[in-house]
Amino acid sequence: MSPPHRFPVGENAVGRYVAQRLMLAGMTLVIVSLIVFTLLRVVVPLFYADAVDLIAGEYGHGDPALTKQLRHDYGLSNSLPSQYAGWVGQLARGDLGKSLFNGRPVSLEIKDRLPVSFELGLIGILSGLLLAVPMGVVAAVRQDRWPDYVFRTFAIVSHSVPGFWLAIVIITFGSLWFNWAPPLKFRYLQQDPIAHIKIMLLPALLIGLTPSAGLVRIVRTQMLEVLRQDYVRTARAKGLGNSTVIFRHALRNALIPVVTVIGLSLVTLIAGTALFESIFSLPGMGQYLVTSVSKLDYPVIMSTNIIFALLIVASNLAVDLSYTVLDPRIRY
């Protein structure tokens, strides 16, 4: 598996590389913003007068003064390009808008919700790694023997079984057999640490399961590849112990491409938050998007999409740049 991008060489290559990645990040953001904007301001008006009209129809034609106010607030009478420019300008000033339903600023809401999703994702990826790396290493070292088969089966099965379904099964049979149910009321860490852990642990562990499938595979193939390298043979030849060779020499090099897979898994994880937060009713970003989409709270829809895109773009950037730290052979 080669690194995902060609690394430029030559004078001031680091700068050029960073600039290239930043441009890519910007492009992704522009595409996401254009899709969401087109949906709400171009596609919706094909069916209704505009987005405000759709909401008015949804909730019974309310106050005409209010709808007029809303139209004015969202600049719906302006031309499309100037509407888009206005929105981007707002975003650039850090103004994420207000909810149509409770008037709460989106930025405040996100300040509460982002840490919940972030915690979920972080514990998820850590538990996924803790599960996958030992499995992958053992599978490679014991290639074509039973540990290999067991862990490869695990990888295939957890790649196929939807994580959200496992959560439902655990909740259903937990309550049926052990009279256990996940806590209904959410507690923040600073409110009640123990209750918080009780709530977060199961979803966080389950969310890491799906990405771990890919991780087991990549750790295994990388280990197999690295174990055949000359320097591993040299290490063995100079009399180093088996565990030293595996952990000191092989694993550290095998883990470099794993970073790429972690980067790819982040997308799965972020998508997973939408599913797991709605199963366990956690007040995170995914749940925010799902509820605001079903209420057609479109300032929230627009802003949360941008935040999600920003998160993914930032984590991809971090993954790309971490290559230099992890693998000194890669020079710009």
Binding site: L24, I31, L39, I156, P162, F164, I218, T304
Partner: protein, 313 residues
């Protein structure tokens, strides 16, 4: 990349199999596939069973999927309802059988869109190269970095409020379009591998144009890979459809596996655990079938690709 035809697939070729007549040749290849890749063959059987279930759902299902039977609500299992009934007495088995239709329709529909456009973009971009390739690939980069499920939730959540929109079609379209970038990258890399092959050069020399080379020389060589990508993609699409339906963004009226697991059935799962169990097993089995079949297909077609993962999104 070596030219692969069904008759000389590595691992499943037989001596003088090429001499046999066509139907026999395929049968022998299939037998070899079953012997060398038992798991993949199992996947193939699951896939075929799934397609059969979807096509013949009306004749297999014991009941109409939406037929209410209020006197037999939340039955766990009985002679009349093997897998029980849900909160309004609808037969779970029949709903599972009809659910295969949604999965298969969305799966094949979305993958068809993905495959056609990804092949076009990947082949042209890889073959043309130069600035055209660079521009297209930067766009593909940005496209690939999009938060898939988030965009899908947003798109379907808004679109389902619009009158007269076919939600199933919208879902197929959206999932299909989002998958294009990743698959086109895969196909492009395969094109790059054959582009400088001597037989392409000789075609050039004998005066074949770009379009002719693409269609008659490059396409047959990347076709096996396209097939593998499509098979592996199907599993991912079925998973995505289930997730979306589970969140309530799927088409209403038609039973689907994800929808059967969704919130409104949740409170009845304690009374009828089958409601939680069976739909998930169906999703898992379907995705598993496509994944292991695709993996085996990939190993047979090009062993070098082993372990490079078939993950989408």
């Amino acid at each position: 990349m070596a030219i692969t035809t069904p008759a000389n697939l590595p691992g499943i070729s037989f001596s003088r199999n090429a001499d046999r007549r066509l139907p026999q040749r395929w049968l022998f290849a299939l037998g070899g596939f079953a012997r060398h890749k038992p798991l993949g063959f199992f996947g193939l059987i699951v896939v075929l069973a799934l397609i059969g279930t979807a096509i013949f759902a009306p004749s297999i299902a014991p009941y109409q999927p939406n037929k209410l039977d209020l006197r037999h609500k939340l039955v766990v299992s009985s002679a009349r309802h093997r897998l029980g009934t849900d909160k309004t007495g609808r037969d779970v088995l029949s709903r599972l059988i009809y659910g295969a239709r949604v999965s298969i329709t969305v799966g094949f529909g979305a993958v068809a869109i993905t495959t056609v456009f990804a092949s076009l973009i990947g082949m042209v971009s890889g073959y043309r190269g130069g600035w055209f390739d660079s521009v297209v690939q930067r766009f593909v980069d940005a496209w690939q970095a999009m938060p898939g499920l988030i965009i899908l939730i947003t798109f379907l959540g808004i679109v389902r409020r619009l009158p007269g929109v076919n939600l199933l079609l919208a879902m197929i379209l959206a999932i299909g379009v989002l998958g294009i970038a990743g698959t086109s990258r895969l196909i492009r890399s395969a094109v790059l591998a054959v582009r400088s092959a001597p037989f392409i050069e000789s075609a050039h020399a004998s005066g074949a144009g770009g379009l002719r080379i693409l269609v008659y020389y490059i396409f047959p060589n990347v076709f096996p890979l396209i097939l593998v990508a499509a098979t592996l993609g199907l599993g991912g699409v079925i998973l995505a459809e289930a997730s979306l339906s589970f969140l309530g963004f799927g088409p209403a009226g038609q039973p689907s596996w994800g929808q059967m697991l969704s919130v409104d059935g949740r409170e009845y799962m304690r009374a009828q655990p089958g409601l939680a169990l069976w739909p998930g097993i169906c999703i898992g089995l379907a995705v598993f079938g496509f994944n292991v079949f695709g993996d085996a297909l990939r190993d047979v077609i090009d062993p070098r690709l082993r372990g490079s993962g078939g993950k989408r999104r």
